[in-house]
Amino acid sequence: MKKLLERRETSVFLILAVLCIGLTIYSPTFFSYTNIKNVLVSNTALGIMAAGMTFILITAGIDVSVASQMMFSATWLALLSETPFGNPVTLVLAAILIGFVTGAINGFLISRFDIHPIIITLGTNSIYRGIILVMTNGRWLMNLPKYFTAFSKTVFGIPLPVVYAVLIFLVSAWLLKHTYFGRSIYAMGGNREAARYAGVNLKKTIFFTYTYTGVLCGLAGLVLDSILGNCQPSGSNGWEMNVIAAAVIGGTNILGGYGTIGGTVIGVLMMGVIENGLVVAHVPTYWQKLVYGLIIIVTVTIDVLRKKKADSKKQMIEID
């Protein structure tokens, strides 16, 4: 119990709970089925990418190309659906394959040349985005076929995108927690040299981490297209910052070594609820960015201060 209270996730979860209760009191529409469904569905793509981002941040890396990777996949999938080859099976396979390629390119460049990931992904961010703009001339791909939008149907009252996201969270949490790959990620983020000394293959681990994130971005592209019913190649600009913010609000250490999928999910919900709450509370949307920024700084500052206090206690000498 005490350990649960000490965790960063718990405090963010409590803030989220208080926020939800407050919003419900302020405006009962917040807690309506339709509104909750809206909040969840519109944040699935963000959540799926944030799961991958959690892996990367734990290794002490970063990926600012996630939104571009998602749009890269979304655009190709929309184009595919316009051809005779488009059907549900090819869409899923293509989403995975495209994500695998974009992620693997990041992973290969970062691990092979040992260049800081922010530089590589800044580069590929621009390249992936550039390719789809050139390909489509920036044209919107409208009216995606029925079998495509069917991916985001609601079955027995549960929207399918939420089901996909939950499945991905479960698989990701399991990978992080119970596999050699997952534990190597933590080891590497905690103490890179020690991980090397313990026989962890750093290059391989980095490669897989970015590739896995790429695959999730590919799937996020599929989900996004099917929810929107169209594809705007220049869309979701700047989402990478929201993805990073969600993971960080959920307790992932940007310097590596710590983070959980559970925390990231709470972080995603927090971002979603705040966005929705501002609408429900009739705050002009222009305030949104400002509030996001404040939330990020406040939650992370509290965490850092708490850690500093704990560390300074640890370094003390026993005086007898």
Partner: protein, 499 residues
């Protein structure tokens, strides 16, 4: 009966850019023996064990025989598979993982982790050490000594034939050191060989069967411990016998410059009082974690005391900030010169003149090239920094010369009091002697010097007076000319002497 040699290494060389860290070294290990690897700082001991444990690869031409068969250790994993594992200094653990995981990691290479196996291996390894702790606790929440025990448990569980330890007792308290000796004897009975690096002579004589000595990257010799006594061993390491010559002959009657009265800081030091005179070298010694660095940092405004008083030239002063300390003409050279003392990507000239840059401006407020140049060159000459190219980046100098640049950087402020933490840590023997000479001549010119040192030889060769600390308190103070070295060591370790 002589046990059989199972690991034989010869012609081991290792070249780093500009430095030959190892030069045709050889080493052989017998089954179930305790083998000490000795040598001064920079002799190449750590490099050698990194080669055995697969962290670094030797230059071509190296020959390693395991059970008579020629092998290579291209990776850490290859060494582990041959039953060899090492505990490196400060490098082997993960603060963000649990105790159990720290012990287990590096075993399975893929797929799902078997948590039951993980717990069992951890429990078994700790059992062998007769240590009890919560294996699901995060390692980062443990004390340094407990973390060290986890590192040992981890290495033991991975080493079926040879366990390598790089200064295993450096962070341990006295009783934990005793426990480690017990563990070593136990492993020996299980026919596991142990290779360890140590600077503590008594330790080597207490537990080891054989000693291999390296000096400046070269093999000096390998002897059975019975063939040696302390002075012979020191002679092998240093290449000459070390004399404890007292170097500062001036009397203590000179002017008192600093007086510290009953300063305390929670969790750092308690009830510290001492005084410092002009032209005197005062040494703070004791075990790692005794609070020495914390105490001297208090004088430089880095660790302000909660209570107590500090007087400089008889006047009460506040030292809460570095700028205040600098105003009172105090300089501090930290132990970790790479991290805290030098800006490695700046030239030697920029490093040296940084603390006084505001005094070297011309009328328009720009830095004056001529002034900085002549000032840097003056200190290059006095400190004999080589090579004397002031535009060369600090990172391109050898450890000893970097040390001198760090010293120069603070000497330009012309301090009255110089505080230096571990003046010769990580420095080769030649530079060590030069730094010693330098400190002595500075004292002769009237500077008051406080140094923190863990090396008894250094303390006795250099200082006039010594203060021994333990658990954040001063337990002993004596003159190095008349004081009893054994008594001081006992005080440092046990808190009380036999005498």
């Amino acid at each position: 009966m002589e046990k059989h040699v199972f690991l034989e290494m010869s012609n081991i060389s290792m070249t780093f850019p500009g430095v030959k860290a190892l030069d045709q070294v050889s080493l052989n290990i017998r089954e179930g023996e305790v083998h000490a690897l000795m040598g001064e700082n920079g002799a190449g001991k750590s490099t050698l064990i990194k080669i055995i444990s697969g962290v670094q690869q030797p230059d071509p031409g190296a020959k390693i025989l395991l059970d008579g068969k020629e092998v290579e250790f291209p990776s850490v994993h290859a060494s582990i598979q041959s039953g060899i594992n090492a505990i490196h200094q400060d490098l082997s653990l993960f603060p963000n993982l649990t105790v159990a995981e720290n012990i287990y990691l590096g075993r399975s290479k893929k797929g799902k982790i078997d948590w039951k196996e993980c717990d069992n291996i951890a429990l078994e390894a700790l059992e062998r050490l007769s240590v009890q702790m919560d294996i699901h606790e995060l390692l980062g929440n443990l004390s340094v000594a407990k973390q060290q025990l986890v590192a040992i448990a981890r290495a033991i569980s991975l080493s079926s034939r040879l366990l390598i330890m790089d200064e295993p007792t450096a962070a341990l308290s006295f009783s934990e050191v005793r426990m480690l000796y017990e563990i070593i004897r136990k492993l020996k009975k299980e026919n596991i060989a142990i290779l360890f690096i140590s600077h503590k002579l008594d330790e080597v004589f207490e537990v080891s069967d054989r000693v291999t000595v390296l000096k400046d990257g070269k093999y000096v010799g390998c002897k059975n411990i019975e063939e040696l006594d302390e002075s012979m061993l020191v002679q092998m390491m240093v290449g000459r016998s070390v004399s404890y010559e007292a170097l500062n002959q001036e009397s203590h009657a000179s002017e008192k410059i600093l007086e510290v009265k009953n300063i305390s800081r929670e969790g750092n030091f308690k009830d510290i009082s001492f005084s410092l005179h002009k032209g005197e070298i005062l040494a703070f010694t004791g075990l790692v974690g005794a609070g020495r660095s914390e105490t001297v940092k208090a004088l430089f405004g880095l660790n302000p005391p909660d209570e107590g008083e500090i007087f400089i030239h008889g006047k009460k002063v506040e030292l809460k900030k570095v700028s205040q300390a600098m105003r009172h003409k105090i300089a501090f050279i930290p132990e970790d010169r790479h991290q805290e003392g030098l800006i490695l990507n700046m030239s030697m000239r920029d490093n040296i003149t940084l603390p006084v840059l505001s005094e070297l401006l011309d009328r328009l407020g720009f830095t004056n090239g001529k002034k900085t140049e002549s000032l840097s060159e003056e200190y290059v000459k006095t400190l004999n920094i080589r090579p004397g190219q002031i535009e060369k980046m600090a990172k391109n100098f050898s450890g000893g010369n970097q040390q001198k640049i760090a010293v120069a950087k603070w000497l330009v402020t012309k301090p009255d009091i110089l505080i230096i933490d571990e003046p010769t840590h990580g420095v080769d023997i030649a530079s060590k002697t030069e730094i010693h000479k330098l400190l002595k001549s500075l004292a002769k010119q009237g500077m008051a010097i406080i140094m923190v040192s863990s090396e008894w030889q250094e303390v006795f060769a250099l200082s006039d007076r010594v203060i021994v600390m333990r658990h954040g308190r001063i337990v002993h103070e004596d003159s190095t000319k008349t004081g009893d070295q054994n008594l001081m060591m006992e005080k440092a370790i046990l808190g009380e002497g036999k005498a």
